[in-house]
Amino acid sequence: MAQMTMIQAITDALRVELKKDENVLVFGEDVGQNGGVFRATEGLQKEFGEDRVFDTPLAESGIGGLAIGLALQGYRPVPEIQFFGFVYEVIDSISGQMARMRYRSGGTQTAPITVRSPFGGGVHTPELHADSLEGLMAQQPGLKVVIPSTPYDAKGLLISAIRDNDPVIYLEHMKLYRSFRGEVPEGEYTIEIGKADVKREGKDVTIVTYGAMVHASLKAAEELEKNGIDVEVIDLRTVSPIDMETILESVKKTNRVVVVQEAQRQAGIAANVVAEIQERAILHLEAPVLRVTAPDTVYPFSEAEEVWLPNYNDIIEKVNTVVNF
């Protein structure tokens, strides 16, 4: 076991897969010699060569097309989109093309592609760097969308994503890159995509969350414990498909749920979680399922992040509302 930041765990996963499978290719803007704008691909080009880890021209749509074409030649592309706000340039390649490859070809062609991309607020990035756009991806049949919150999850999920024979969107929260270290096993291990993880057990209220909001929820849970409220925190880890089994098991125990996301209320995937719960467990609910989200405005100018982004106080408030309903 080693202590790693999430970004180190990501680099480690890429290294493990580059070593294990010669078809794995890592490419994007500045991922080669530069090692990535966040150092996620640091040292990989030097270790594996320019044929395996390489820079591309500055064009996201071209990167998506390149990944699809390389996949058609039997490669296992792991392209990077520098910031997920730039996904709009490549939505056709992702949602219009790679997500549909297996279906449209009747299973004769596949797209074993993992699109890595940073997102997320709290680090005062300029415009269209931090936007949470996982909701767009989660609505596209043919994609899986993975969002880790810890170094351990990041490594195991990225290895699984790369080995998956269908396209996976792997979103890396910028605030979590280096904010803490965690235990990460050496070598290879996998975490099943589509499986949530109970990060904290509790019996009074269930929080369903993902990304940076996992940590805000854990902090809120600590505070709430002081007031005698025992919170269970479920980290979805995969936001499409959603692990309803783990959620329902928890709901049946706690009978109260708050869904927490960083994205705006009209975005993200929280509404989907609420809908699934009300369809499947309404008789187990003591209160409505409430959501903690950002307001329905454009992502804030960087100075205003603190007042805009959901935080642990918002979570505490919503949990109290649900408990006192």
Partner: protein, 347 residues
């Protein structure tokens, strides 16, 4: 404009005459005649409601088949929605091409060893994907190319430029073809760009570009052959603009070309018909006869009749087919829906 045969079927450029045997020349003519008949029959079948989506090809035979004839089996085709003939001559069975038209997934299931994608509906997407296939072929050390087609309107897309530019930057094994038939639905090519030619757009990617008489099958063949040799020799991709014309509407979904094209223009282009001039050329060499042509026509009609019958009889699609073609391993939501639809389908 690069040309070998003029409208009267005379060789105007001996130096670039491709080295094709008599049999190959006859085969090229056979394919063009066959494809003209396929177009006529497809339009008729569409009108009878026996085919669905169909983008007419008459007029573009030299452009489509001359370029395809320069390819090898290992070459990978990324066609646009009008480029079904290239797929057929690359090995897609005719009944599957009809299933594509009708909207059945089996039409898109390329047989083993047929290196191609189904026709691309998103104009430009095939260009960026081709760059990836071309790079993959280069990295695998294969003596093969990725060829892709778009129209004149498609050259205005971002993906058109990005695809060529990526392929250029990587020295990928690519041939990019622009079939300039003068119109993108109703919009004339002059409204797409102020550029004098579309071939010159290659300059922006730093790759070779060539404008070719797209009604001259020998010129299109020679240009594509040249591009192929350059690409596999590592000399980089090439953009070929074929100047051509579609006699029919844009698609059979209600487009009426008389709204935007004059009868004079149509008849002017009919004089340039690729079949007429190549027929004259072959007749001059005693390689073609009315009898030979009728033989091809009969064969085409017979094949088409059989293929449409086979397409009609092909098992209908079920929701469970679609679900099982989504992923290698079904996620939970689809596992649930699979059960639901299995129950419905067994009723």
């Amino acid at each position: 404009m690069f040309q070998i045969l003029n409208e009267d079927g005379e060789v105007v450029n001996k130096d670039d005459m491709p080295n094709l045997s008599d049999d190959e020349l006859k085969e090229l003519m056979r394919r063009m005649v066959y494809t003209r008949i396929l177009d006529q029959r497809s339009i008729a079948l569409n009108r009878q409601g026996r085919l669905g989506f169909y983008a007419p090809t008459a007029g573009q035979e030299a452009s489509q088949l001359g370029s395809h004839f320069a390819l090898e089996k290992d070459d990978f085709i990324l066609p646009g929605y009008r480029d079904v003939p290239q797929l057929i001559w690359h090995g897609l069975p005719l009944y599957q091409a009809f299933l594509f038209s009708k909207g059945h997934f089996h039409g898109n299931q390329m047989p083993e060893g047929v290196h191609a994608l189904p026709p691309q509906i998103i104009i430009g997407a095939q260009y960026v994907q081709a760059a990836g296939v071309g790079l993959g072929l280069k990295m695998r050390g294969k003596k093969a190319v990725a060829i892709t087609y778009t129209g004149d309107g498609g050259t205005s897309q971002g993906d058109f430029y990005e695809g060529m530019n990526f392929a250029g930057a990587y020295g990928a094994h690519n041939i990019f073809i622009v079939q300039n038939n003068g119109f993108a639905i109703s919009v004339p090519r002059e409204k797409q760009t102020a550029a004098k030619t579309l071939a010159q757009k290659a300059v922006a990617a730093g790759i070779e570009g060539l404008q070719v008489d797209g009604m001259d099958v020998l010129a299109v063949y020679a240009a594509t052959k040249h591009a192929r040799e350059r690409a596999i020799a590592g000399e980089g991709p090439m953009l070929i603009e074929t100047i051509t014309y579609r006699y029919g509407p844009h698609t059979m979904a209600g487009d009426d070309p008389t709204r935007y094209r004059s009868a004079d223009l149509d008849s002017e282009w009919e004089k340039k018909d690729p079949l007429v001039r190549f027929r004259k050329f072959l007749e001059g060499k005693n390689l073609w006869s009315e009898e030979a042509e009728n033989e091809v026509i009969d064969k085409a009609k017979e094949d088409i009749k059989e293929a449409i019958k086979k397409a009609d009889q092909y098992p209908k699609q079920k929701v469970t087919d679609f679900i099982s073609n989504m992923f290698e391993t079904l996620p939970n939501n689809l596992v649930e829906q699979m059960e639901e639809y299995k129950a419905k389908e067994s009723k």
